[in-house]
């Protein structure tokens, strides 16, 4: 009996995944544990291992295809077995059937379902004439072609116009497609590969439509490297942040004497108490999680016409990975000890580096800390990760000088860069938070009691 392999659902918020690589071709033998294909969500990559042995009979999607979760992806069985029943339904997108003909099977092989176009949503743009090919591409890729800049003859939208929209990132997930196409809205996607999800549609339901960006003119003599999905997410998120949020940055330095003393102590004796590897970042997370509780608008999300204040502190920790910036969330930091925070922060960073972090752990932060101090940065403008209201940038450790009792004395200092959303936080409250944070850091060991 042929076994069908489906696209797993990696987390409740995941609607679909992109197949990044096939390791098996139709006709290849498959053993239990063989990696069949790799796939990714917007932020994680996974390998699908075979649970059965046999021969790859049919592959319904190609590399780069966006496959709805729980959809049949391939079939493993004995050569000649009938697999027609497993072929995904006709209105599923981008089904590129590659199949082994089943000579012995009397039943016809799966119909070339990809050739049947899904019924199109009525074109919303009144003048949106579109070629059949461009329409099919738009449907398969979830692109609202009514937003396209038509460059074909007679104002017809042609394939390259839809491709320009895809390049600009205006794609919806399969689930959101029908509702999205024809919506005429320029919606920022937060889903897989920057795709617009049903949630985005709901969020943007009232937002005014915006004109799609004109496609960038192509020039020769350089190499176009397609953006990875993570890069697209970052690009969209950062653009949205900087174009959509009036934000400004405050800088303030603090004396690290107390923290340095504590770290020296831990280094010398920590092991005996089971405490080790406490980083400056861990300490900053710890301190911030305590101070934030006194500043509810800093530990908040700015939503449409409302500010969502969180009862606990969920710190987003910016992690630099090979694949780009990732921000896992350390939840309920205010309830956790420094040691717990340290341990959990390490685990999250490791999972991000490996790329197997659960998508569910990549959202829901109330405040973000971004540390690029190790690279010698003295001051920068962290960009708010919407819909959060603030982000803290951690800079390098510097030796500064000050006059103490008429003498110039060196001391260890660190500059902090806080960016806040002016819609929620004015200058004074932002500065007050930063001031209190600096104070707390300088007296960090006292806070350990809290």
């Amino acid at each position: 009996m042929a076994e069908v392999v489906i696209m797993p659902r990696q987390g409740q918020s995941v609607e679909s995944c992109i197949i990044s690589k096939w390791n098996k071709k139709v006709g290849d033998p498959v053993a239990v544990g063989d990696v069949l294909f790799s796939y990714e969500t917007d932020k994680s990559a996974f390998d699908e291992e075979s649970k059965v042995a046999g021969t790859m009979l049919a592959i319904f999607f190609g590399e780069g295809d966006d496959v709805p979760c729980l959809t049949n992806v391939c079939v493993i069985g004995k050569p000649g077995e009938d697999f027609a029943q497993f072929a995904p339904k006709a209105d599923e997108p981008a089904v590129k059937a590659e199949e082994v003909a089943a000579p012995a099977a009397p039943a016809a092989p799966a119909a070339p379902v990809a050739e049947t176009a899904a019924p199109a949503a009525a074109p919303a743009g009144k003048d949106a004439f579109i070629s059949p090919r461009a329409r099919n591409l738009a449907m398969a890729q979830g692109v609202d072609y009514t937003q396209a800049t038509a460059t074909g003859p007679n104002g017809r939208i042609i394939e390259r116009d839809v491709q320009a929209l895809i390049a600009a990132g205006a794609q919806a997930t399969f689930a959101a497609r029908d509702a999205y196409i024809g919506s005429g809205k320029n919606i920022q996607g937060t889903g897989l590969g920057g795709r617009i999800t049903t949630a985005d549609l709901a969020a943007a339901a009232a937002a005014p439509a915006a004109a799609a960006a004109a496609p960038a003119a192509e020039e020769a003599e350089y190499v176009d490297v397609p953006m990875s999905n993570i890069r697209k997410v970052i690009a969209k998120s950062m653009t949205a942040s900087l174009t959509g949020i009036p934000q400004l940055t405050y800088n303030m330095a603090y004396d690290m004497a107390n923290i340095n003393a504590y770290r020296a102590l831990v280094k010398a004796n920590g092991e005996a108490f089971g405490v080790k590897g406490i980083t400056i970042n861990d300490i900053i997370i710890f301190v911030a999680s305590r101070v934030l509780l006194n500043h509810p608008d800093v530990n908040a999300n700015c939503l449409d016409n409302k500010i969502r204040r969180f009862n606990h502190v969920h710190i987003g920790i910016a992690v630099d990975t090979e694949r780009g910036l990732m921000v896992p969330t350390l939840r309920n930091a205010d309830l956790k000890s420094l040691a717990q925070i340290s341990k959990e922060a390490k685990e999250l960073a490791t999972a991000c580096q490996k790329g197997d972090i659960s998508p569910d752990k990549l959202s829901g932060a109330s405040f973000t800390i971004s540390n690029i101090g190790s690279l010698g940065v003295q001051s920068f403008t962290p960009v708010i990760n919407p819909p959060q209201t603030a982000i803290l940038g951690v800079n390098t450790i510097e030796t500064r000088f000050r006059v103490v009792d008429g003498e110039i004395k060196p001391y260890s200092a660190m500059n902090l860069s806080l960016t806040t959303d002016h819609r929620v936080l004015d200058g004074a409250p932002s500065s007050r938070f930063l001031k209190e944070l600096v104070n707390a850091l300088e007296n960090f060991s006292i806070l350990l009691a809290k």
């Binding site: 050739e115 176009a117 070629s131 059949p132 090919r133 461009a134 099919n136 460059t151 074909g152 003859p153 007679n154 017809r156 042609i158 394939e159 390259r160 003119a217 192509e218 020769a220």
Partner: protein, 827 residues
């Protein structure tokens, strides 16, 4: 154009007169007493029986057509019935002299000719021969019916029932007819008796019968060929062309090659049934000036074609004349012309109300009834009694009634079941066989071993690809070109298939107008490779007759434009006889036509659309040396008629696409498979013919200037055509241009565009665009760039109709407004 025949001024301007021999007119005057020395009683009675059977057969058809009832049996027949009541003696007299080695071709008024020939053959064949023929024919389908449903006293009676039933079932379009009902009334024939196709086109049999005679003459086969036609057909060019072709001097003066081969004349008798009318037009006195058809012979050769006019109402006079003509032909003195005076009492067809003749005239001819007259003569001469004739009559009527009942019985004589066998007709449109040699029993007649043929030697030293190792073009003199690609399979076939012949205008010494046959003359005897007269109808028509007799033939029409002169032969004869014979006949003909340029309006047309439109023709148009060789090989191995288009623009082209050049050995390219000549991903260009090279230029510009990668597909074949590669390409690119040098309106390109639209609609990013020639006459060479597709037209089409190119300014106008305007004006 042989050098051996010197034309001197002295001889050319010599004084003298042209003398004609007397043409005998109704000179037969033997008495019955004299004839009794030649004929036994049974012979006389058989002549009567055969005439009477024809009369009854046609009377039955006339009754059915006009009253829907015959002898109490009701039937309605919507098909045609061109009757020859009154002409029976002419038909029976002729058939009396023929045996199964003789081939007769009929007119479209041929029931009498068929029945006469059938009954005469039955008399001449032994019982065993007869039974074997009946058993083998269509798997015994006809024999089964008559054996099961009719009582026959002996094999000859069985054969008569078989023959009359097979003919009538064919007239009524039944699957138990001689051609499964696909030929019908005007096309019933029965090859095992030497009874070849009749023709619904007046005079259509003229050139075809000529081809059959050519087959006998070239392949040394016994017997003669009879081309029957009416006096009306003498107004048709193809008939007159055939008179000339059969009479041409070279057959007796050159084909013998100084005693090496036969120098006999063409073994054909053109037999004209002069019934005074061509439909309603009166030939003598109205539509012709010959007074009597026999006069025509005087115009065609010094023998006057041995023409003679005989009384066709007296079967004995006809037998006397046909016997003498047959003797002449067998002695190598053909061709011959016989003018048989007869009269059609029935109308042209049942709808004919005889507005063009008086009742008195018809009445007089009815009185002259040849059957009654013959009976009276025999009774008076005491050959047989009236009672004997009455008994014969009764038997004939009974047989006819019984056969009619059988033929209209839908269970016994069903029509083709198109519901059960939807491919019944489809499967006989082409024979699709591969036969390397049409006659494996003998060696091909050639003048030297192949290796010694001058052209073969020349090609051996040529470079078989266009560029050398360094990518430099090979010099023209050394380059293996398209001519060579065509030549190689042709010369191979001349050595392998003894039946292969090639002819056309200027084929032999000139080497074909465009040099494809150059230096081939030395290797091939005259009768296999000769210059035809400028008679396109006779050239193609004779090829049809040659092929249907079992030979293989290549004919050439020089310019594709000349197909118009052979319209009927290409479109009605060559294309249709395989299927009209229900697959019994094969048609291994390659018709070479060349698309010109530089020579203006009547010498530069790509007429692929005309040939592609007609069911039954295969059509190819290769434009590389390898494709030319591969497709010519396929065409010559096959058994179907192939119209082989060539282009005069590119005969010099070397092989630019195959890195290893044109294979030296034999290889076939399947007819119907297009070829990707350049791979690409952004736009597809499908070309027909020499336009390929301009499309490739356009592809280069697209790549270099606009970074657009064009995939260029060469159609190579037009019918059949496998769209799979094109569909695959369009799925990839979403955009397609179909281009060729034909005028774009109603072209193959338009047909392909429609097909691609329907097959690839969902993949298309723009409508398929046709880039063809303008719907004008072809202007002079210097202005051709305004007429034929140019490389920039491809960019214009892409820019205007598919995807605008940044910063591009089109030269040719592909806008919709312009398209509408041109359609409105028909230009």
């Amino acid at each position: 154009m042989p050098k051996s025949q010197y034309i001197s001024t002295e001889k050319a301007f010599e004084k003298g007169f042209i003398h004609f021999n007397d043409i005998p007119v109704c000179q037969y005057n033997k008495t019955l007493a004299e004839e009794k020395k030649l004929y036994k009683k049974a012979d006389f009675l058989r002549i009567y029986h055969d005439m009477r059977t024809i009369r009854e057969f046609e009377t039955m058809l006339n009754e059915v057509k006009t009253k829907s009832v015959y002898n109490g049996v009701e039937y309605h027949n919507p098909g045609p019935a061109h009757l020859s009541i009154g002409q029976e003696a002419s038909a029976v007299g002729e058939a009396y002299c023929l045996d199964i080695n003789d081939y007769s071709f009929g007119s479209h008024r041929s029931h009498g000719e068929i029945i006469a020939r059938g009954l005469s053959s039955i008399e001449k064949l032994s019982d065993k021969e007869l039974y074997d023929i009946m058993k083998d024919f269509l798997g015994g389908a006809i024999l089964n019916v008559v054996e099961k449903h009719m009582k026959s006293d002996n094999v000859k009676e069985l054969a008569k029932n078989f023959f009359l039933y097979g003919a009538l079932a064919e007239v009524f379009a039944r699957t138990t007819g001689f051609n499964k009902g696909l030929g019908g009334s005007m096309h019933a024939f029965f090859i095992p008796f030497g009874l070849m196709p009749n023709n619904a086109i007046v005079g259509g049999s003229g050139p075809i019968a000529l081809g059959a005679a050519l087959y006998k003459r070239v392949n040394h086969k016994p017997g003669i060929v009879i081309a029957n036609s009416g006096d009306g057909a003498c107004g048709r060019g193809p008939v007159l062309e055939s008179f000339n072709f059969a009479s041409m001097d070279q057959i007796t003066k050159l084909w013998g090659m100084d005693g090496k081969y036969s120098d006999a004349g063409m073994p054909i008798l053109f037999n004209i049934f002069d019934n005074f009318y061509g439909m309603g037009g009166q030939t003598r006195g109205e539509t012709m000036g010959f007074d009597m058809p026999a006069r025509l012979g005087a115009g065609f050769n010094p023998d006057g074609m041995h023409a003679e006019r005989v009384n066709g109402y007296d079967p004995l006079a006809v037998i006397d004349a046909v016997s003498r003509k047959k003797e002449l032909l067998l002695a190598g003195k053909g061709p011959a012309l016989l003018d048989v005076v007869t009269y059609r009492i029935s109308g042209h067809s049942p709808s004919d109300s005889s507005t063009y003749r008086t009742p008195e005239e018809i009445e007089e001819w009815k009185k002259a009834n040849p059957i009654e007259a013959f009976k009276k003569k025999l009774i008076a001469g005491k050959v047989a009694s009236a009672a004997e004739f009455d008994a014969l009559d009764e038997m004939i009527v009974n047989r006819m009634t019984e056969i009619m009942k059988l033929s209209i019985n839908d269970e016994i004589s069903p029509r083709m079941d198109m519901e059960k066998h939807p491919d019944a007709i489809e499967s006989i449109m082409f024979s699709n066989q591969k036969i390397h040699s049409m006659d494996t029993t003998r060696e091909a007649e050639m003048l030297m071993p192949k290796e010694e043929c001058p052209r073969v030697k020349e090609i051996a030293n040529k470079v078989r690809k266009a560029f050398d190792e360094n990518g430099k073009p090979v010099s023209k003199m050394k380059l293996y070109n398209i001519r060579d690609g065509l030549f190689e399979p042709i010369i191979d076939k001349f050595y392998d298939d003894p039946t292969l012949i090639a002819y056309g205008e200027d084929n032999r010494d000139w080497g074909g107008a465009f040099g494809v046959y150059k230096k081939m003359t030395e290797a091939i005897p005259y009768h296999r490779f000769f210059n035809a007269p400028i008679s396109e109808s006779a050239i193609v028509g004779s090829a049809v007759g040659y092929a249907m007799c079992g030979g293989r033939v290549i004919v050439e029409l020089m310019y594709a434009d000349f197909m118009g002169c052979a319209g009927d032969e290409i479109f009605n004869q060559m294309a249709k006889w395989q299927s009209m014979s229900a697959g019994i006949l094969k048609m291994p003909i390659v018709l070479r036509v060349s698309v010109g340029s530089k020579y203006g309006a009547q010498h530069s047309q790509d007429w692929t659309a005309l040939t592609a439109h007609i069911p039954g023709l295969k059509v190819v148009f290769p434009v590389t040396p390898a494709d030319a060789k591969g497709l010519m090989t396929s065409a010559l191995e096959g058994t179907d008629p192939v119209v082989f288009f060539e282009s005069q623009r590119i005969y010099d082209k070397g092989e630019e696409f195959r890195p290893d050049g044109v294979p030296a050995g034999t290889f076939e390219i399947a007819i119907g498979e297009p070829d990707i000549k350049r791979e690409g991903k952004d736009v597809t260009i499908l070309t027909i013919g020499a336009t390929l090279y301009r499309a490739l230029e356009a592809a280069k510009i697209l790549q270099e200037k606009y970074n657009i990668s064009a995939e260029v597909i060469d159609a190579r074949s037009i019918v059949p055509f496998n769209y799979e590669k094109v569909i695959e390409s369009v799925k990839k690119t979403g955009k397609i241009i179909i281009a060729g040098d034909a005028c774009e309106r109603n072209s193959v390109m338009k047909d392909m565009a429609a097909t691609i639209t329907s097959l690839c609609f969902d993949y298309l990013d723009a409508p398929p665009v046709v880039v063809g020639s303008r719907n004008w006459i072809t202007p002079c060479f210097e202005m051709e760039k305004y007429f034929f597709p140019q490389p920039e037209w491809f960019l214009d089409a892409i820019h205007t109709k598919i995807m605008p190119l940044p910063g591009y300014t089109p030269t040719a106008n592909f806008t919709e407004t312009e398209q509408i305007r041109r359609c409105k004006l028909g230009v």
